[in-house]
Amino acid sequence: MITDIQTFFRELANSGINLTIFYDAFDFERFITGLGNTVLLILASTFFSIIIGAIGTAILTSGRAFPGFLVRSYVALFRNTPLIVQMYFFYFAIGSIMPVGQNELGLPEPLLGSFSWAVISLSLYAGAFNVETFRAGVGAVHGSYEEAAFALGYNRRQAFFAVTVPLALRFSFASLSNNLVDLTKATTVAYAVGVAELLYVSNQIWSDSLNTIEMMNVMLVIYLVLTGAVVFIINRVEAVMRLPGFGLGDNQ
């Protein structure tokens, strides 16, 4: 079976379409490593960006002045500067003043590698957008629900978590889906700090195997599949959480 596939792509290469990743073991391995790193970047950054978004929104809606100011400043900074500049800033500016450890051979090794910096940078970037998304979700929940909770003895915090959050989440899906698709595409920026993700390894492959056009096509298809998967998962979660007779346009 595998030999069949390899034979097919080897013959395809002879006819001018050279997809080395499907018949050359070395290119295949590099490519899979890159794909794995990209998926890890997506998963880790999605996870942390959602946590950042949730915490930022909780602070903003708590109505406390100074913490709210800090969150708004953070959002303004990370929304209004280019991601690549942020990533360079973390990797080269902050990374260079971080303490340096030693590896088992006694050689100097930075505490955080490029992958970690990429996750931090992507999480903060997408987190800023998620703060806005969740805040808008909270704003979309009619105050009458919270009021009903107050009338039943809930305090602010209890009402926020028992009533506002579950409803706000349902208003946030469309916009969250946008943010996470954007985050998926933004993982390619990690290339700039040397993370061996898909774009990085593809560049290596097309440099070595001189199949730039083929690899460009592969990249387009792969990212379409990845963003498609992100949207599919969010849509599934949204469908599971859908409430009868409740939602945008249903008069809540």
Binding site: A148, A149, F150, G153, Y154, L167, L243, G245
Partner: protein, 249 residues
Amino acid sequence: MTISPNSQPLISLRGVHKSFGAFEVLRGIDMDICKGEVVAIIGPSGSGKSTILRTINGLTPVNKGTIKVGDITVSDPELDQVKLRHRVGMVFQQYNLFPHKTVLENVAMAPIQVLKQPRREVEDRAQKLLADMRLPDKANSYPGELSGGQQQRVAIARALCMEPEVILFDEVTAALDPEMVKEVLSAVRKVAEDGMTCILVTHEMGFAREAADHVYFTDKGVIVEHAPPAEFFSQASDPRTAEFLSKVL
């Protein structure tokens, strides 16, 4: 229900004032409501009826005056909100059921989460209340699957499940289609007949006349007059009351 004139009022309002910005909604409200009494507050829109209700359970803080519910002073800054809202239930015009919770969860969640009562006990009580409200088979439905009248009856069961001493009904039929008004009013009447102290803000004059022990008429933030319904609807003494009644009856 007959009220002994000497009985201690369960709820009393004295000189209650409330302003929203420059607009004075309540300009000195005095009321006494005894245990088991059913009181209807009527009056034109914007006369402060709903605000009176909302000051009683502390949803709207007052600017001046005192409100007492039993031994609780509502305006006390040290007030234990849970204690007050355990005693005073409220039913809203728009039902305000939690759309992400089933009917049973809506009814049972506050006693479980706020009063920390045992789940099984609360759920048994909730099931019984839903049966009383003639909704026994809707326990696992979501509010969005029910009609307005059914939702409002769930909201009444939700208020009752806290086992309050008084329930505030804020225009509970105003958002309903006409054919559903009757089912909700008969549910309210059942609650009143079971001895619950009820304060109703309502535009249903027929209901106020039949079900209330006492009718208050408010206009422009003051109580113009109050009387038992028979007297109130037949011989209103103030011209403002007479004018209002001539429009709505």
